[in-house]
């Protein structure tokens, strides 16, 4: 089919949400074009970096260790979002997530038996065999085999929308018309200028964990065409990651989770938060924002030789110094200040029994901020540090949608022929917070719905 021709369904994006939509639409008999901004290697945006997906199910399977009823999923969602979620839509998604455990394998996606290990998600989450890129490769193979047209390096730069009705999209010098649009182009986390609107210059120091292509251009165009927005623009999923990670696409392996083994200081060599407040994953999820609040958005996890082998070595080796002063010098911190901070901290540590699996009784007394658990003196040379920066996973501002994944216009009416799925509408479900694996659920469930609905609409 030539590009001058008109498609039934135009899918913008190339990740999980987009491919699920494209496959569902094609299976429903529609002609489908996928426009992906990235090249073939980087196709699939943040989905490339994912590992698992959370779906409700009533019984254990060969890849899931126990049942995860809808009600429990809903409780978990409510807890992480603290009620900031559209209940009807969220419950609808949870109900539909059940089918995905069968539907995904039908599209060639393979799940692996959960190997347990460090992540306690073997019951709730299905792990992709080979990870997100393997899963994407399978979806692309299936889509191609079904006859979905796919264009790479095809960033959509403008959308022609009239009164909530999609007419055509332009990428490069080409314009393509379609009866329906499925917007599945992700969030805007790699658009630093846009992030700056909410975070100021601090955003210059953010590292983006996923693709550089989620610049939110499609979201922007939709919002500028009177689409209703949803979600808090300042909310995003941010964790503390190694400051030496690349600006974009460092993925999962840049994470650091050794804060409980030492102290975290800012560029003034001062502690700023209770490193022993909570257990993973809550701890994991808060440090991105904490570091974002510090001068120059940088922090340093400082620890000593006694704990070096207590956690997995990470991507970059820790910076090492024979003395605290030498370490400070290498980090560019004031040696006297850092030594003072460590001495003060050490003096406040009370004896206890260390256990990193529970909230133990090792704590400090008489300093602010305290370290409520896992507090032990930092005294055995050599001394080590990891520099950390905020690592942004994804943003929550998005387009409002109905249960049919149809985009809602600012006047409250559903759009005539526009649908949205994935990160671009995640804010409907995730007002704040995050539960592992839910990004894939939002994309797969709403992608499949959007594709099916768009095909039905186009062929009517």
């Amino acid at each position: 089919m030539g590009f001058a021709a008109k498609y039934d369904v135009l899918v913008v994006g190339g990740g999980n949400a987009a491919l699920c939509a494209a496959i569902a639409a094609r299976r429903a008999g529609a002609s489908v074009l996928v426009l992906e901004a990235a090249d073939k290697f980087y196709r699939g945006g943040n989905t490339r970096h994912t590992r698992n997906m959370r779906c409700a199910h009533d019984a254990a399977t060969d890849t899931l260790s126990g049942p995860y009823p809808e009600e429990e999923f809903w409780d978990d969602l409510q807890r992480v979002t603290q009620g900031q979620t559209d209940e009807a839509l969220a419950r609808h998604m949870i109900a539909r997530s059940k089918d995905m455990l069968a539907w995904m394998p039908e599209q060639g996606v393979r799940f692996q038996p959960s190997l347990g290990g460090t992540l306690s998600l073997g019951r709730t989450n299905s792990f992709f065999m080979g990870g997100g890129r393997a899963m994407l490769n399978a979806l692309y193979r299936t889509a191609e085999a079904l006859g979905v047209d796919i264009r790479y390096e095809a960033e959509v730069t403008s959308l022609d929308i009239e009164d909530g009705m999609f007419l055509s999209a332009t990428f490069g010098t080409e314009t393509v018309r379609a009866a329906t649009l499925v917007a599945a182009a992700g969030g805007f986390e790699s658009n630093i200028e846009w992030l700056k609107q909410y975070w100021g210059d601090a955003a210059d120091n953010f590292l983006i964990r996923g693709t550089r292509n989620n610049r939110g251009t499609v979201l922007r165009m939709l919002l500028d065409s009177d689409v209703a927005e949803v979600g808090d623009p300042t909310q995003c999923h941010a964790v503390a990651i190694d400051a030496r990670a690349p600006k974009f696409d460092g993925g999962i392996i840049t994470r650091l989770d050794c804060v409980i083994f030492g102290i975290v200081v800012n560029k003034n060599a001062e502690r700023f938060y209770d490193e022993g407040e909570d257990i993973w994953p809550k701890r994991y999820a808060i440090w991105g924002r904490l570091v974002a609040g510090q001068p120059d958005q940088i922090g340093y996890i400082v620890f000593d030789a006694s704990v070096l082998n207590m956690f997995m070595p990470s991507l970059y080796p820790p910076i090492v110094g024979a003395t605290i002063e030498e370490l400070a010098g290498k980090l560019g911190l004031d040696p006297a200040r850092l030594a003072q901070t460590v001495t003060t901290f050490n003096a406040a540590v009370r004896p206890g029994t260390f256990d990193d699996k529970i909230l133990d009784d090792c704590r400090t007394e008489g300093i602010a901020p305290p370290k409520s658990h896992w507090a032990r003196r930092i005294e055995n040379a050599p001394f080590y540090a990891y520099p950390v920066r905020p690592g942004i996973t994804f943003t929550y501002l998005g387009t409002r949608v109905t249960r049919e994944a149809r985009i809602v216009m600012r006047d409250g009416k559903p759009s005539a022929n526009m649908y949205a799925a994935g990160e671009i509408m995640a804010g409907n479900v995730l007002g704040q917070g995050y539960a592992a694996g839910i990004g894939m659920t939002i994309g797969a469930v709403f992608g499949r719905i959007a594709g099916g609905e768009a095909a039905r609409h186009a062929r009517n």
Partner: protein, 378 residues
């Protein structure tokens, strides 16, 4: 400050650049672990937090080069983390054969293996032809010999046994001592019968050549099963030919029945079936090799694979030529050709790709034990 270090790199001495690179990759993979369901390499890697040379050689010999972890990896090139596990492990693996070779003095044979094998093969063939001619007058070489003992009119049976028994024994000793070096270096403690059985099963089925179930990746991100099928043809073809030779030996000594045997007799049937495997398998594997994605190839060391496959193919081809032409004046030449190729194959076995089978089995054995001990602990 914070000069960007190459992701995953860690100071620590390794015997070579490629081992250092393998260490870097395994460090990255260990903090990622997305591939843990694909094969044995990743679970084995996860049992370690740092990697000695022996560990890396062990992991490299667990890898079947199925390519899955390259196409599944979000950090494979052109990503700046430059994670290419199949290629780097292939290089480490090839180097490991050299590192453990016995006697040490012959280790350099691995460096130009393709060339060395061709020269040795050509020389062996030449020696056999010249030998036949020198032994008798050329009329015997080009004469027609049929019936029992026809082959031995060109070369007495005892001479044949001494020659081939000798080179076979040498190969066995060299292989065994190389294997022992490897086993020691991967720090493998004793294994139990169940480990042997598991490793045998995993090796015989090529369990880890399937990318975790989808198949092997060779040309691109679309998996298929061709490499496994061709490898099976090669391996079982080789085993059948070995069985054929064993039966023939039994016939000779136990039953006093002397070669050549009629086409319907067991040695010929086994040998023919095996021979077909050794034509189809190596040819298929060579084709797959040429079609392989450049990113997955370990070009500098590929000569060894090609040489070994070519030798297997030629062994079978000359064997068939001998079978079909044995009642004609070409028999003498064909016999010399075949014997020359087989002789060269035996001689070069400890210094070429053949060893991968042994090292792979040893690695699988180590893995089977490691897994069992782990599960007994938990």
């Amino acid at each position: 400050m914070l000069a960007t270090e190459r992701a995953g790199s860690r100071p620590g001495a390794h015997a070579s650049q490629i081992l250092t690179e393998a260490d870097r990759l395994m460090t990255i993979c260990n903090s990622c672990r997305y591939c843990e369901g694909l094969c044995a390499v990743f679970p084995a890697m996860e049992m370690r937090t740092s990697f000695r040379d022996g560990d890396l050689n062990y992991l490299a010999n667990l890898c079947h080069s199925c390519g899955a972890c390259y196409y599944d990896c979000q950090f494979s090139p052109p990503h700046e983390f430059d994670v290419n596990v199949p290629r780097v492990l292939a290089a480490v693996r090839a180097d490991s054969y050299r590192a453990y070779a016995w006697p040490r003095a012959l280790a350099p044979l691995f460096d130009r293996n393709g060339l060395a094998v061709s020269i040795i093969a050509a020389l062996s063939v030449a020696v056999f032809i010249a030998g036949f001619v020198g032994w008798h007058d050329p009329k015997v070489l080009f004469g027609v010999h049929i019936g029992e003992g026809a082959f031995y009119r060109l070369m007495p049976h005892n001479a044949m046994v001494a020659l081939f028994g000798g080179v076979f024994l040498f190969a066995l000793v060299a292989l065994a001592l190389g294997l022992r070096n490897f086993w020691r270096d991967i720090a493998a403690p004793s294994a139990s019968p169940i480990d042997f059985a598991r490793a045998g099963h995993d090796a015989a089925t090529l369990r880890y050549l399937d990318g975790g179930g989808a198949g092997c990746h060779n040309e691109n991100e679309k998996p298929d099963d061709r490499r496994r099928v061709y490898h099976h043809a090669t391996f079982y073809g080789f085993m059948l030919c070995f069985a054929s030779t064993s039966v023939a030996t039994l016939y000779h000594y136990a039953l006093g029945r002397v070669a050549p045997y009629p086409w319907y007799d067991l040695p010929v049937l086994l040998g023919s079936l095996g021979g077909i495997g050794l034509l189809v398998g190596p040819a298929g594997l060579l084709m797959q090799k040429w079609a392989r994605d450049e990113e997955l190839r370990d070009e500098p060391r590929a000569g060894m694979d090609v040489a070994f496959l070519a030798m297997l193919f030629l062994t079978s081809l000359t064997g068939f030529a001998l079978l079909f032409l044995r009642a004609t004046p070409a028999m003498g030449t064909m016999l010399a050709l075949h014997l020359g190729v087989v002789f060269a194959l035996f001689l070069t076995m400890p210094y070429g790709k053949f060893v991968h089978g042994l090292y792979r089995y040893a690695a699988l054995l180590r893995y089977a034990r490691e897994r069992r001990v782990m599960s007994e602990k938990s």
